[in-house]
């Protein structure tokens, strides 16, 4: 528990938790004071509408005007936007998960270029064996 790893592990237990704990509790007190004191009006008696809740969620998600749906807003534009964002997330996950050949470091978060040898310099000459310049051997 008190393994010295840069001197940071020893104070995870008590000292470093003190001020975050105070901050979290203070935030909760402020939020609770606001929530208890705020006027919210009267609650609705429930969802009004003949269509089911799940069916009405479908209607609101695709901007379908059903006459008996529970009132809601339309979410078609945000549906399309989030679909695009999820595609971008998929591409990002694939980019992070891909590792190059004979390279133990991922291209996404390679820390520095100094420990990469000269053989990692990408060849810009099409790879043909040339005589001039320094020889990039590997």
């Amino acid at each position: 528990m008190s393994v010295d790893r840069g001197g940071r592990d020893a104070d995870v237990d008590d000292r470093s938790r003190k001020w975050p704990g105070v901050a979290a509790i203070a935030l909760f007190v402020v939020l609770a004071a606001v929530f208890v004191g705020a006027p919210f009006g009267d609650a609705a008696g429930g969802f009004e509408g003949d269509a089911g809740i799940t069916a009405s969620i479908g209607y609101s998600m695709f901007n379908i005007d059903a006459p008996d749906a529970i009132p809601s807003e339309g979410f078609l534009v945000s549906f399309i936007l989030i679909a695009v964002v999820l595609d971008a997330a998929l591409d990002g996950a694939v980019m992070l998960a891909t590792r190059e050949e004979e390279d133990e470091r991922s291209p996404g978060l390679a820390s520095d270029a100094t420990d990469r040898g000269p053989e990692r310099v990408p060849s810009t000459d099409g790879g043909r064996p040339v005589g001039d310049g320094e020889e990039v051997d590997d």
């Binding site: 940071r8 509790i25 809601s72 997330a89 998929l90």
Partner: protein, 100 residues
Amino acid sequence: MVPIEYYLLLSAAVFCIGVFGILTRRNALLFLMSVELLLNAANINLVAFSRFHGNLTGQTFSLFTLALAAAEVAIGIGIVLVLYRNFDDVDVTEATTMRW
């Protein structure tokens, strides 16, 4: 029906616990879990107000939040695995390469 203040207090408590987790832990996976707690607190608020007002906007919006949380966790897991691969650790204080 449970008054809405109780749901708001529950949501505030879960939110503050998530903030506390982000502020104290140094494991990157605990960051992800704390962010999940924050998103769940927001979802509780949305669903509670949806029931309170008799309007389905909150439920539909929390469905979108659910999908975005799943995508965020997928990206976060990828980042954590790359962090572990490059630094042999998931401690977020170890990765100081980009620190100025």
